[in-house]
Symmetry: C2
Subunit: 233 residues, 2 copies
DNA sequence: CGTTATGTTGACCTCCTTCAAAGGCTGTGG
DNA sequence: CCACAGCCTTTGAAGGAGGTCAACATAACG
């Protein structure tokens, strides 16, 4: 891990009232007055690609809402291996374990450049008590975490590696319309529970079959229908 | 699925005040007076082995707390396959998705004879609002669901089938002290993401190596230390 | 006792891993 | 501008792990 990868760049106090994804985040139920009252301790951070937002086992003082980009939640195993257990997309919340415990359960890393809002645990606890809307939103996020983790089991850990890769690409938003930037082969492997080589082989095969088409760099456009067909198993 | 498997046997109104596992369940923070006020709509059910408690996609009017036994939560895949995504043990809560949605996300089946308390969704919603202790307990259960699902990814879907089986046996409580009743080979397979035959082969091999020792029926005693060693991978 | 589910085992083959090497891309320094 | 290093990706060859299909054993049950 490069040391400077942990340098998330501070961007100043957030302005939730004008946040473009406000309707999909934790505070969407609050009135402007309520918002003003709690904005002060919320920071807006930029997390460059492959930077570490927080680490598994570290003290967990904050919850993060993802405004743009993708975060991967990785669990490091005692025997040295590691497994990505969830991908977070804009609107998702990272580090909710802080509300019932004191340590992060994962290492959170930006898969692409990401923007997050850092919210002190106390702010969330307080809002959870005073605002039914926030409370409801929190429960929804929690349920979403469960759903996502189980989706990871069912879709990304069941069936042949090829079918799982197809499901991953669909899940990453490969609609066939606009190019999508791909994760590294190593990350794909960690998501699917296969080796980097296997991930590479499958992606190469997909290209040969015309299921994905390299754009530039690691941007690709996908044959959505074809991938969905493969995803069946 | 046998039709009579869905016959869970009603056992009458529950008496939470004298419940032996009251300290570990959802209502542990309530005073006796608060308890009395909400007991009426709570039923106490016995779920015989392999009976279905609720089904994926069905309307979800109730939450269940598990008092004894083990429940498996199964997800049925569109292509006919199925995967067990979580095992619930006494103190765990099933069907929490009812608090933010209206359909069950899994099919819940008793792995062994089980006792559950059925709690109407409205009761939980109400308590969540009025009792901070219940609210806190709910958040803990939710986080526990996430942890369990992720444990399933990391422990039961990563590494060789042998290592995963060893982890499963440890997880099922094989301490080496008293005999444990095993799930069917089919269930083991569905938990580990391998075929029934592979599960059978591995268990047979474990017996030959003396790692597990058949007691009677499908009760076994385990070499806990040996299993933990294998579980490393 | 036959009947039916469940567990066990074998043979074969596919998929994936492992180990190794070669190819591309990027940044750095001469 | 080129050479070189470092990283990621691709590809190959060999072996092993697990899937598939089938036969058989065992236990549960009327």
């Amino acid at each position: 891990m490069k040391p400077n990868c942990t340098n998330v760049e501070w961007q100043g106090r957030s302005r939730c009232a004008v946040c473009e994804i406000r309707n999909s985040v934790l505070f969407s139920g609050l009135t402007p007055q309520e918002l003003d009252a709690i904005l002060q301790p919320i920071d807006n951070l930029h997390v460059p690609q492959s930077a570490v937002l927080y680490e598994q086992g570290a003290a967990a003082p904050s919850v993060y809402t993802l405004r743009s980009g993708i975060l991967k939640l990785r669990i490091d195993l005692p025997n040295g291996g590691q497994r990505i257990v969830r991908l977070l997309r804009p609107g998702d919340v990272a580090g909710m374990e802080t509300l019932v415990g004191e340590r992060y359960h994962h290492t959170a890393i930006a898969l692409r450049d990401a923007d997050v809002c850092r919210i002190p645990r106390e702010v969330v606890v307080q809002l959870d008590r005073t605002s039914p809307a926030v409370h409801q939103a929190l429960m929804q996020r929690w349920q979403r975490s469960v759903d996502q983790a189980e989706h990871c089991i069912v879709s990304l850990s069941t069936g042949t590696a090829e079918a799982r890769m197809a499901r991953l690409l669909v899940m990453l938003g490969c609609s066939g319309n606009q190019p999508e930037t791909m994760p590294s082969r190593e990350d794909m492997g960690a998501l699917l529970g296969v080796t980097t080589e296997t991930a590479s082989r499958i992606m190469a095969e997909f290209k040969r079959r015309g299921l994905v088409h390299a754009d530039r760099g690691n941007e690709v456009v996908c044959d959505h229908a074809g991938l969905v067909r493969l995803a069946q198993g």
